[in-house]
């Protein structure tokens, strides 16, 4: 099956039905290995055992941003190419991205208390991450407010592209402003500052979270296609009655 064939919702459903069980199984396996490696990782010389929170916090932060990135590409698909599955992909990604952003904020808060002495501070990194969560909630609300899916898709696509400006702000906030949040330590010029004994489990957990994201996204897209079929059939039924 060519990738272009997946633009057809029926073919996409067949692809999703075949792929989701395999992706789900792989996700479970990588998570099991990742959690095992995370628990075996040594304590940090400064932060002690609280470094274990990093194995949840950092991947969820990445995936919160990846979710909005996926939605931004899908928004272009809706506005520019009018791809039939673009707004389905965007709508399906929003709650998943919001959940990972929430997880990032919760775990960050729980990590901040023992390390910084506070659960929350209005510094640029934390505030821009909170803005991302509010953007997610806004776009979900927009989808629910506008009844016609095609009109909702265009409005949500515009909001998504405007909101994408928050992604570089989150990434570079620690460089542009003085923040309590630490600077980049994984992807930075000169290499990572994290010891491989901690960095490798972090990457395995990131892979597991990424697999989870795409498994859930594929399943949520399948649900959205079915929901639209139900809506179409109900409209057909209503017009037949009237």
């Amino acid at each position: 099956m060519a990738i272009a064939d997946l633009a057809n919702p029926t073919r996409f459903l067949k692809f999703a039905n075949r792929t989701i069980p395999w992706l789900g199984g792989l996700t479970v396996l990588v998570f099991a290995y990742g959690i095992d490696q995370a628990m075996l990782a040594p304590d940090d010389y400064q932060q002690g055992a609280t470094v274990k929170i990093m194995f949840l916090h950092v991947p969820s932060a990445w995936l919160g941003m990846l979710g909005w990135g996926v939605m931004s590409v899908a928004a272009l698909g809706t506005l520019v190419w009018r791809h039939p599955l673009a707004d389905v992909a965007a709508k399906a990604a929003a709650p998943i991205g919001a959940a990972f952003t929430l997880l990032c904020l919760v775990t960050g808060s729980l990590w901040g208390r023992p390390e910084w002495g506070t659960y929350w501070v209005w510094d640029a990194r934390l505030t821009s991450e909170l803005v991302l969560l509010l953007l997610y909630l806004g776009v979900i609300a927009l989808w629910r407010t506008v009844e016609d899916p095609s009109r909702a898709a265009r409005a949500a696509a515009i909001l998504t592209l405007v909101g994408a400006i928050d992604l570089p702000i989150i990434k570079f906030s620690v460089d542009w402003w003085n923040t309590l949040h630490q600077g980049a330590s994984v992807f930075r010029v000169g290499g990572s500052t994290i010891d491989p004994s901690i960095l490798v489990p972090l990457f395995i957990m990131a892979a597991a979270f990424t697999l989870l994201f795409f498994t859930l996204h594929l399943a949520a897209m399948r649900n959205e296609i079915l929901r639209r079929r139900v809506r179409t059939l109900r409209l057909m039924q209503a017009s037949a009655v009237s």
Binding site: P95, A99, L102, A219, A220, N223, L233
Partner: protein, 67 residues
Amino acid sequence: MNTVNHMGFIVASYAAAAAIVGVLIAWVTLDYRMQRLRLADLEMRGVTRRSAPVRPEPALDKAKEKA
């Protein structure tokens, strides 16, 4: 660092992750069942898409049985 004092924060983080991921998985799974049941219900009433197959898909058969 006092590991014992901070164990609560670590456990709370992993519990929060399990809860949020669990809710996500439950939402996707329940939503799928709901949409399949709604489709099966409509098809039982004779409301079908023009491009729908003549014979219902096996998944819909199961949903109809449950309904």
